[in-house]
Chain length 181, copies 2
DNA sequence: TCCTGCGCTAAGCGCTTGCTTAGCAGGTAA
DNA sequence: TTACCTGCTAAGCAAGCGCTTAGCGCAGGA
């Protein structure tokens, strides 16, 4: 699975052959099928666990406080750190959805909707308590998620910023976006 | 080329066969090779013209004013509208870079650096004139681009918002992010 | 000592891939 | 009329694809 993550992230699902994965894992191509039903099933398992982790990251962060401002700081920080540190896995999570079977895609899409719902609820709670000011909480929530997701696209391990540095700055940007700075 | 854009955006470069493109264009597979050297060359041409367009969108917007605040509004608005209206092409521009040959990738990467430079210069001008306040102009510029780029990922033609509505809200978010709201 | 089950490999099957070849219809020009 | 383009197709080649089959070495239990 680690070899598959590496390869899918670098070359995409369709750009990766089962032989690539097998040799990355130091095995013969046939050995894959002892552990996994198909190449698509491997992608699904990776996507499944990645999405579960992303949702957990968001929910755990929300649970650290009851103050919307603190919750937003925690969520954006954790979400950004996750997308930077695990950019390899996060690339598959966010950019290889089209290769999933219709049934698998629907299951994954449900988790994505839950993540979006968490962020939307958070922004709306802040607006309701007067902590935040934004004319469109739904679109603002989407923009906050975009910021984190896109980190997985451009982040490089050898880059000049650490995941924490990026997360710190992005948390500040998030406060500004919701009018809480 | 239109058929290739459609197919690459929907299924990715490696997920698209030359037969897919040919039948999308109502031709035989061999007819592609009358007009294009290879499948990768087709991708390169699409990526090339898409990147040229993106850079032009940014530069044209910057040229509409001399005031950093107005320039930021114009750039973010135009950049977001482009990524929403041409989300099909923009998906290839942003997410199919790995399929390019090393030489083609380097050429494209140069244009991407120019786009980033435009945004960085703009934010820095705003900070210099006192119109903007941000502790890290470079990272803020990256975040502003992220916002636009990620629109291409999630935008759907049948969605509830028009490109202009999204661009209006995102322009406001941009002002907040640079501390100019 | 023998047996069973597990993790694995060598070989290969049927199919699809990117791309090439040979050739053909129809328009243009001398 | 003849010659030559241009834009296309039918057919197919070599290579690579996802996945299967048959079988092998070895650890653990009876």
């Amino acid at each position: 699975m680690a070899a598959a993550v590496e390869s899918f992230a670098a070359k995409g699902f369709h750009g990766t052959s089962t032989r690539d994965i097998a040799s990355g894992a130091g095995m013969s191509p046939a050995a894959l099928y002892v552990h996994h039903r198909s190449k698509e099933d491997l992608l699904f398992q990776i996507s499944r666990s990645g999405h579960d982790r992303a949702l957990a990251v968001v929910r755990d962060a929300v649970a650290t406080s009851r103050d919307p401002r603190e919750q937003l700081l925690a969520v954006v920080h954790a979400f950004v750190v996750y997308h930077a540190e695990d950019h390899t896995g996060a690339r598959i999570v966010n950019y290889e959805l089209a290769a999933l079977s219709p049934e698998h895609l629907e299951e994954i899409a449900a988790t994505r909707r839950q993540i979006e719902q968490e962020m939307r609820d958070l922004v709306e709670r802040g607006v309701a308590t007067g902590a935040f000011t934004t004319p469109n909480p739904e679109m603002t929530a989407l923009a906050l998620l975009s910021l984190g997701i896109d980190v997985a696209r451009w982040y490089r391990d050898e880059g000049e910023w650490t995941p924490t540095q990026i997360a710190d700055h992005y948390s500040d940007l998030a406060l500004r976006m919701v009018g809480a700075a």
